[in-house]
């Protein structure tokens, strides 16, 4: 089969996915086995992966609060996704803008309903894990100073108002899908939405007390690296699972993913080594995560070489993005959510236009589409998503602030640390 034809079919498949199961769909147990496991892997990315990745980066008096944010989000998003989120994202489309409520409470998603070659319930839970990790990514923007009640309200509203619509546009048969926007596993849907929203909430919330001089360094880089390693492993499920089948396409997505992660890690190390004289562990794993975020939208469309290029680009661009947000914009997006995830996701969403070409070992673009033409499509997808996410985030933050009497804890509580102040617990009670 020609690359173009193959890509055309893939696109076709994407467009068909949101439809109700077709009569001829029959269960493929291998595909089902893989997507069930991929679901477990993506849950594993948030809990404990992301939780540890973020928790190691804060000071020791807030380690538990970060984990708690992730647990709280996982619990609440699950319920919201069941009740209405899945339906908004993947229900029958209302004009390409949002799904209807036909699938609320997973109605119609019984054991026997199919979606392609896998049970729709498996697809719904796979997507649920995406709906968990995306708002959890934003946690990195507001650590050490936010009320737990604000976290829950903000995240819940954000899921329904930002994530679900954008997810519908791109993956749920909405207008971006119609336009031909390429986003294999969430450069736009996951990383761009979360990244820009993180930047906005960080600005609105204000910096941590004493920022930047008196902020403590990461209290446990080994914990951060452990979480990053789990994210790396789990990302096989995130990107490879987005193929919704256990085949060469999934294999290639994983190959590109892994190679991008490794390359970005290596390049970030080299940059630090050159600039600061020493490569740091926190830097290396930040590079890995940047590579993973960047390859995400492209993973199913590119080959190993594409992974290599995406990884290198990710490290270079995200490294400088971190510097710019911190030193030029002076925004306390505390754990660099925008600079790493947002910028990475956007970068990958744009670069895929070229790297999907057969000359880079990719699957090719849709028939008749050129790289530049695709770049325009991608730019529209990214641009609209950024604007939508930013505007809605402003609104949600305002409303949340009104509901919870301000998003921030008191200065005393911030000094004491969120662990004790908000949760009544201490992270470490280690006697000798």
């Amino acid at each position: 089969m020609l690359p173009l034809a193959r890509y055309g079919m893939a696109l076709l498949a994407v467009l068909l996915l949101p439809m109700p199961a077709l009569a001829e769909d029959s269960l493929n147990s291998g595909d089902t086995a893989w997507i069930i496991v991929a679901t477990a892997l993506v849950l594993f990315m948030t809990l404990p992966g992301l939780a540890l990745f973020y928790a190691g980066l804060v000071r020791s008096q807030a380690v538990l609060s970060v984990v708690m944010h992730c647990v709280g989000i996982a619990c609440l998003m699950t319920i919201l996704w069941l009740v209405v989120g899945y339906s908004l994202a993947f229900g029958d489309s209302a004009g390409g803008w949002i799904g209807n409520l036909g699938k609320a409470f997973f109605s119609g998603v019984g054991k026997d309903a199919m979606r392609g070659s896998i049970p729709e319930i498996v697809f719904a839970v796979f997507q649920m894990t995406f709906a968990i990790i995306t708002p959890a990514l934003i946690v990195g923007a507001y650590v050490e100073r936010i009320k737990f009640s604000s976290v829950l309200i903000f995240s819940g509203a954000w899921l329904l108002l930002v994530y679900a619509p954008v997810c519908h546009w791109v993956w749920g048969g909405g207008w971006m899908a119609g336009l031909g926007v390429m986003d294999f596993a969430g450069g736009i849907v996951v990383h761009a939405t979360a990244g820009i929203s993180a930047l906005v909430i960080a600005m609105m919330l204000g910096a941590r007390r004493g920022y930047p001089e008196q902020v403590r360094p990461p209290h446990n880089p080994g914990m951060t690296a452990t979480g990053a390693a789990m994210l790396w492993v789990g990302w096989y499920g995130f990107n490879g699972g987005s193929q919704l089948a256990a085949d060469g396409g999934a294999g290639m997505a994983i190959a590109a993913t892994h190679i991008a992660a490794a390359t970005a890690g290596m390049v970030w190390m080299i940059i630090e080594w050159t600039k600061f004289g020493k490569p740091s562990l926190v830097g290396a794993v930040t590079g890995v995560i940047a590579g993973l975020a960047t390859v995400t939208p492209a993973s199913g469309f590119v080959g190993p070489l594409g992974g290599l290029i995406l990884g290198a680009a990710a490290a270079i661009v995200c490294f400088y993005a971190v510097q710019i947000v911190k030193h030029s914009l002076k925004i306390d997006d505390s754990l660099d959510v925008f600079a790493v995830h947002g910028v990475g996701g956007i970068l990958g969403s744009l670069l895929v236009s070229f790297l999907a070409l057969a000359m880079f070992g990719g699957n090719g673009l849709a028939e008749g589409q050129t790289a530049v033409g695709q770049l325009g499509v991608q730019a529209i997808g990214v641009g609209v998503t950024l604007v939508w996410s930013a505007v809605l985030t402003v609104v949600i933050v305002k409303v949340t602030g009104a509901l919870t009497g301000g998003l921030r804890v008191s200065e005393d509580q911030e000094i004491e640390g969120l662990d004790l102040a908000s949760h009544g617990e201490r992270g470490y009670d280690i006697g000798r």
């Binding site: 980066l57 902020v215 360094p217 990461p218 600061f276």
Partner: protein
């Protein structure tokens, strides 16, 4: 009795303890402390943000000894703890008025 309080480099703890044991010192108490002095701390860079760590890890030794052993103990600590490099630390001597061994109730030099 005198309290000898010495701040030394962490990897010198074992040599100091051994040297003191050799001259018959039978007890001491050790704390992990952070020191600030002529020897400067360091800077850590995480994702481009600089964190200056002003303090260096040191170990504080406290031991109470009879008056007549002060000279010798200071000598021995100095010999064992010296590297000749900045940051080697200090020895201070403070007067102790009373002492008691909790187990037996003994007091004075007997308690040491």
């Amino acid at each position: 009795m005198k309290l000898v309080m010495a701040v030394i480099k962490p990897h010198k703890l074992d040599p100091v303890r051994e040297a003191l044991t050799e001259i018959g010192v039978t007890g001491l108490t050790v704390s992990e402390v952070k020191g600030f002095g002529r020897q400067k701390g360091h800077t850590e860079i995480y994702r481009g943000a600089e964190y200056s760590v002003a303090f260096l890890p040191k170990v504080k030794i406290e031991l109470v000894i009879p008056n007549d052993r002060v000279e010798q103990v200071m000598e021995v600590i100095r010999d064992a703890a010296e590297t000749g490099q900045i940051g080697d630390g200090k020895i201070f001597v403070i007067d102790v008025e009373r002492s008691m061994r909790i187990r037996t109730g003994e007091t004075g030099d007997d308690a040491l």
